[in-house]
């Protein structure tokens, strides 16, 4: 791969208008901005139709809220029901600056923690707004009947999470994502029942349709019949989740993919910071080659569990046989202030270091211990069970080991993607009329996301931000009809989708889409994983391109295009992962600094900590598609920090 080293321009590209209000009063910025945006009056809202793709937390909350406001909404998911979206799997909790615990939390502190946790690579204005609306989310969810954990007085309980020194995380047992999604889904159901939302299950968006530079709709494929259809609207909202499955093995659900975002990218939406991926520190290590996904053990476990490895290399003794003096509680040793609660990237990298040193534990020596013995001795097994019972059960079921009597084994795994479609303060992409919300966009977490902040962001976007900002765009379109689906622009997009389907079915190669996905994942994990260097990234580019060429010539897609065919679904998604992987390698290569989840070996302090380079890289990298076969162009949005003082993160 030829590395085109674009030196940083230090000014934002004119193509990236962040629309951040020009004011130093960040505390009132969003309130004032809401007042200055154009409104669509209630009677006119029904004249606008909006497509929402995705029904996870972000999509369900947006679709329901837009319909409540009176917009005509069509919602799409490739799942058989909106409630199966990947959001359902979130375990630990959701942050909000309620300060119910009276422990010094505030909107400003949540804002500050999130910007710092993101290693100063997020946009201050967006993050502040996120912290502000966080409190409304809890109110909304509680009113919907989300059964949050309560204390004996009946008030809401909190726990603390990595990267924070206050207790601001709300939770519903170990199933917070499930309960919040059921809440948003119930709001969506109410709108489906009343006709406000037209729900399309089992339909996959395969193209974004743009006419004269404006969004006019999408093309979908019915996953049961293969029928390709066009849907027009005044605006399209992509709430299609993250791209973590580019690593093949990740904690994401099997069907999570980048296709919707990638096809929008190909239609003009810039893709921002694809190199930022969060590798979560507390997952169950892989057991063999047929592993299809990895399971997360909620990070909340780090509140009570202590992480350690033997001091000795290649120590094969059982944990119980290793005396206290021969254990290395390496996080507590290196980071006395935060200890086991350091942010995820720091925890992950340290685990990799000790395993690479040969101090890993378990049959494949591919893990570290997460030990509850002290917590059980202190609080009793019953208390620990009440807090983490279902997680302990899950662990026991998967590994066949009992975590009450021996420490868990954990290892980092790909978990969340901070990069995504570039959006402005209005959550609009570079394609006018196309919005991206939730994990699909890039905006709030910088180079690293703090625990319990993704649920917060998805719901903030869907309930409280997008429903306002979309009006500002639509207000100008009053009186404009939608582009009819009979327009040639739709016919062309439909034909392209149909051609692609036929193309995959006719390759007639020898290896399954799954095979290529797995091979791609290995390259991405080895070269663009927890530690990256120039040499490896250049090789990654070449290796991915070579594998992709083989994939296109040699993939075997069984079955037909007119009935349910999961192989056919998969092949298109894998093909888009190839495109993304190449861009990811390139983005990682040109970001010659370490920040958050992006650790460049060349850029570290003497102690081996990530070393940012604010002079050259305090920007968002947003990539513009230039057509098949051509390299994307990099655009920069410079980040300004007026309200948080930049410092090298230190959790010592």
């Amino acid at each position: 791969m030829t590395a085109t080293m674009e030196p940083s321009s230090k000014v934002s590209s004119p193509r990236l208008d962040s629309k951040v209000p020009q004011t130093d009063d960040i505390a009132n910025m969003w309130e004032n901005h809401k007042f200055s945006m154009k409104l669509v009056n209630p009677n006119n809202k029904r004249k606008f139709s909006v497509i929402v793709v995705g029904t996870g937390l972000a999509g369900s909350s947006a679709a329901a809220t837009l319909a409540e406001l009176g917009y005509k909404v069509k919602a799409f998911t490739f799942h058989d029901s909106p409630r199966r979206a990947h959001s359902i799997a979130a375990q630990g909790g959701i942050n909000a600056a309620k300060n119910y615990q009276n422990d010094g939390d505030s909107v400003h502190r949540l804002f500050y923690d999130t910007v710092k946790g993101g290693d100063y690579r997020s946009r201050e204005a967006n993050v502040h707004r996120l912290a502000e609306v966080s409190v409304n989310i809890i109110d909304q969810a509680a009113a919907q009947g989300v059964p949050f954990a309560r204390d004996y007085g009946g008030l809401l309980d909190n726990r603390s999470f990595g990267g924070a020194q206050v207790s601001r995380t709300f939770y519903a047992r170990g199933q917070t994502g499930q309960q919040l999604l059921l809440g948003a889904y119930s709001a969506l159901n109410r709108q489906i029942e009343s006709g406000g939302v037209e729900m399309h299950n089992r339909k996959e968006m395969l193209d974004l349709v743009v006419k004269d530079g404006q969004t006019c709709g999408i093309v979908t494929r019915d996953l049961l019949t293969g029928e390709v259809e066009s849907h027009s609207a005044h605006a399209v909202v992509l709430a299609t989740g993250g791209y973590g499955n580019v690593y093949y093995l990740s904690t994401n659900a099997m069907m999570c993919n980048v296709t919707a975002a990638w096809r929008a990218h190909r239609k003009g939406a810039f893709f921002a910071n694809p190199c930022y991926t969060q590798i979560h520190p507390t997952c169950i290590p892989a057991s063999d080659d047929h592993q299809s996904k990895l399971t997360l053990m909620s990070e909340s476990l780090r509140n009570d569990g202590r992480i350690w490895v033997p001091k000795e290399f290649d120590d094969s003794r059982l944990a119980a046989d290793i005396p206290e003096a021969e254990r290395d509680y390496y996080l507590e040793r290196k980071y006395p202030a935060f200890g086991n609660l350091v942010p995820r990237d720091v925890a992950s990298r340290n685990a990799k270091t000790v395993v690479d040193e040969g101090r890993g534990v378990g049959p494949l020596k591919n893990g570290v211990f997460l030990d509850f013995a002290d917590a059980i001795a202190r609080d009793g097994a019953e208390t620990i069970k009440a807090k983490y019972g279902n997680l302990f059960d899950m662990y026991a079921n998967i590994t066949g080991e009992d975590p009450y009597s021996r420490p868990m084994r954990i290892y980092p795994a790909t978990h969340y993607t901070m990069g995504g479609l570039w959006v402005d303060y209005h959550l609009q992409t570079t394609v006018p009329g196309t919005y991206a919300i939730g994990e699909a966009n890039f905006s709030d977490h910088g180079a690293n996301r703090l625990g319990a902040s993704a649920l917060m962001q998805g719901l903030a976007d869907g309930y409280f931000v997008l429903p306002y900002t979309i009006g500002d765009y639509l207000a100008d379109k009053l009186g404009d009809g939608v582009v009819p689906t009979s327009d040639p622009v739709f016919a062309a997009a439909e034909a392209e989708v149909a051609d692609q389907t036929n193309m995959w079915l006719s390759v007639n190669g020898t290896k399954s889409p799954e095979h290529y996905h797995r091979e791609l994942g290995k390259i991405v994990w080895d070269r663009i994983g927890m530690a990256r260097d120039k040499n490896g990234l250049e090789k990654a580019g070449d290796e991915i391109a070579t594998l992709e060429e083989e994939f296109r010539k040699n993939v075997r897609v069984m079955g037909d295009g007119t009935s349910m065919n999961t192989e056919l679904e998969k092949v298109g998604r894998v093909s888009d992962f190839f495109g993304l992987a190449k861009l990811k390698a390139r983005d990682a290569l040109v970001r010659e600094e370490s920040c958050g989840g992006h650790f460049r070996v060349e850029s570290q302090t003497e102690e081996g900590e990530a070393l940012r380079d604010d002079d050259n890289f305090s920007h968002v990298a947003a990539w513009e598609w230039n057509g098949e076969g051509a390299d994307q162009t990099k655009h920069e949005e410079q980040l300004e920090f007026k309200h948080v003082k930049l410092s090298q993160r230190s959790y010592k």
Partner: protein, 258 residues
């Protein structure tokens, strides 16, 4: 064969679309790691079928950790297989022994039409939810969350009900294909909370009536509970029935004795 590998024989239901009659086909699954999950075993079988240019077995799954409710297999006649409190995706091959013969079928019920092989449509469950599975509170109108304390027991009980993953195993396990356990989980999640009170009677009547449009009648077999991966309690059915009877009277009163 390593000591962690087993050989098994599978009888798998193959049905090439809703109109096809369907039949069992037998596959030898050799050298399956006991550390893999049941679905990973099927992945391996499928990759081998593809290698032989045969159609892979269609089945559905997504989270593979027992929370999304997508996976849905009858394994040796049991919904989600032999282990209590587990979804199909949580079942591991260490549950089986070398030489075992395993039958794999889709969840069967009149209201769960087969789409292909082991995949069925469970859309009817959503229809029950549409009928009243919500609290009517539009975004932005909620008061501060701590203004309405919820007694811890009520919150815990509501959470027990809310844990339902909507997989439909209860329906598949029921000799009458009734959906009482699912519906009662959904109704009680909201009816047990202060936030759900305003619509309590309307909700239970609408959801139960919709359920009856699609599903069979409950005759208290209790098979649903045995199959349920979240061990949703049968008590919820009793609560729901009680609320339903009350609702029939109350709703008439509220509507002016019409």
């Amino acid at each position: 064969m390593s000591e962690n590998n087993i050989n098994i024989t599978l009888d798998v239901w193959r049905q090439n679309g809703p109109a096809d009659k369907g039949h069992f086909e037998t596959y030898e699954a050799k050298e399956i790691s006991t550390d893999s999950s049941f679905l990973e075993m099927l992945d391996v079988v499928n990759e081998r079928l593809i290698d032989d240019e045969k159609l892979p077995i269609t089945f559905e799954s997504d989270c593979r950790e027992g929370i999304c409710g997508t996976c849905s297999l009858m394994i040796n006649g049991q919904a989600h297989g032999p282990n209590k409190g587990q979804a199909t995706c949580q079942l591991h091959m260490r549950t089986f022994s070398d030489g075992d013969h395993i039958t794999v079928e889709p969840f069967r019920a009149a209201s769960f039409p087969v789409i292909k092989d082991l995949a069925v449509s469970r859309a009817a469950l959503d229809t029950i939810q549409h009928a009243g599975g919500y609290v009517s509170v539009s975004t932005g109108s909620a008061p501060d969350a701590n203004l309405t304390p919820v007694p811890k027991d009520a919150a815990d009980l509501a959470m027990d009900a809310a844990a339902c993953i909507g997989c439909g195993a209860c329906v598949a396990a029921c000799p009458n294909s009734a959906a009482q356990l699912f519906t009662s989980a959904k109704v009680n999640h909201l009816n047990l909370l202060p936030q759900g009170q305003s619509e309590r009677w309307k909700r239970v009547e609408a959801m139960v009536d919709t359920m009856e449009d699609y599903f069979g009648t409950c005759t208290n077999h209790g098979e649903c509970y045995e199959a349920c991966p979240k061990e949703i309690s049968l008590d919820f059915i009793a609560f729901m029935n009680r609320d339903y009877v009350k609702a029939k009277i109350k709703n008439r009163k509220l509507a002016g004795q019409k």
